[in-house]
Amino acid sequence: MKHFLMTTFLSAALALPAFAADYTIIAPANPGGGWDQTARSMQQVMQQAGISGNVQVQNVPGAGGTIGLAQFSSQGQGNPNTLLVGGYVMVGAILTNHSPVTLRDVEPIARLTGEYEAIVVPASSPIQTMADLVAELKKNPGAVSWGGGSAGGTDHIMAGLIAKAAGVDPKAINYIAFSGGGEALAAILGAQVTAGISGYGEFESQIKSGTLRLLAVSSAERLPGVDAPTLKEAGLDIAVQNWRMVAAAPGLSAEQKAAVSADVEKLAKSPQWAEVLKTKGWQDTYLAGEAFKEQLDKDIAATETILKDIGLVQ
């Protein structure tokens, strides 16, 4: 039995051909979350597509990714073989935690995937449309409790943006932060809160089975296969994408940077990655180079404004 086990693993380990670059991917979150899944999917695809023979994933959880970010920027300095997975949530976390290390201290390579936010109410709720919800919010902002993820995260920012666009003081929103998607979803399903905000994927199966009513999505245009208006159609000028990206360490030479970018592009264009996106239900929002950096700067500025409006950042 033991021999069988050993031979299975040894043969699997030895069967891997040697490749030029080994990578260590830092997932700045606990196992199971979106960043961890992104990192582990990258690990799988990079090995399958022959981009790298040995890819390790390391979890450095904590504080919306800022702990992983800080560790990455100091310890990874000049190391072309380490990558960091991150995303939009990090932008808000850096601001609310007063993180001394920001995204400017690493080398953002590319945006890989994105997810749009969905606003839902339980099926039993009298609220039928986004307009109904906005009306309730205007009547008494405190009576509308929003259930979503951590304070200062994408979901919280969305609630603030909706209030602002509806002409309600974002400071007045009654946002209830839950730890993790499952707990928030349970509170929404149990009608403990008025409305829920989270990534569309979190709600998808509930919406399809009719236990949740989808009021709107945060994309700029309607999503294929999703029967709901965008926030813009509902009269609120908001478009938010909860994106995930990959960054390289600071202090790389131009060639090293180009090599990493090429590997990441190979990953994003591979059929195996397309397969991962399909099974996980992630949107492909690949954006690299200067275009990505420009978009990043815009997102950071907008996030800072709304967090100040909500009162989370002074």
């Binding site: 693993f9 380990a13 390790q56 405190g142 400071k171 007045a172 009654n174 909500i310 989370l312 002074q314």
Partner: protein
């Protein structure tokens, strides 16, 4: 853990227990101070981020007073004689492991801890126990980092094996 503690029969003020009371009071003050600088971010709950810490700090202060009273009355269990030597060996081992982990890798750092802990319990032949510890930890590293994909810091020894 305190099951076999025997209460002291002499009613004599207990200096170490006063130290505990002082520690609890200091901890309480620290929490009070930390809670005082938190801002009440707009929320509909009357219980804000500072409320619970303040309550805990107040209770700790109460416990500090209670501890002081108990210390005065000599209510603390009699303590057995503690030998500092072995404790220093173990603590030294842990500190050494902490300092060497990133540079020398898992096996050497943890091997040192192994040898020093053994030394604390009487096996002082470091020239035997250190190599033994390192070999053992290298085997552990091979098993967990090699086969089971756990990420354990690699040092010179581990790199030697990988190549």
């Amino acid at each position: 853990m305190s099951g076999n503690a025997i209460p002291s029969t002499r009613a004599k003020a207990d200096k170490a227990a006063f130290g505990i009371a002082l520690f609890l009071a200091a901890l309480s003050a620290l929490i009070f101070w930390d809670a005082s600088r938190l801002q009440a971010v707009a929320s509909y709950s009357r219980v804000g981020p500072a409320t619970i810490p303040t309550v805990i700090a107040a209770c700790l202060l109460g416990l500090a007073v209670w501890t002081a009273v108990a210390a005065r009355a000599g209510d603390f269990p009699r303590r057995e004689r503690q030998e500092i030597g072995p404790v220093a060996w173990v603590v030294g081992g842990l500190v050494l492991q902490m300092l060497c982990l990133k540079t020398l890798g898992f096996s050497i750092a943890t091997g040192l801890l192994f040898a020093m802990t053994a030394a604390a319990f009487g096996k002082r032949k470091l020239h035997v126990t250190i190599p033994l510890g390192i070999l053992l930890c290298l085997a552990i590293w091979l098993l967990f980092a090699g086969l089971l994909q756990l990420s354990l810091p690699a040092g010179p020894l581990e790199h030697l094996l990988r190549r």
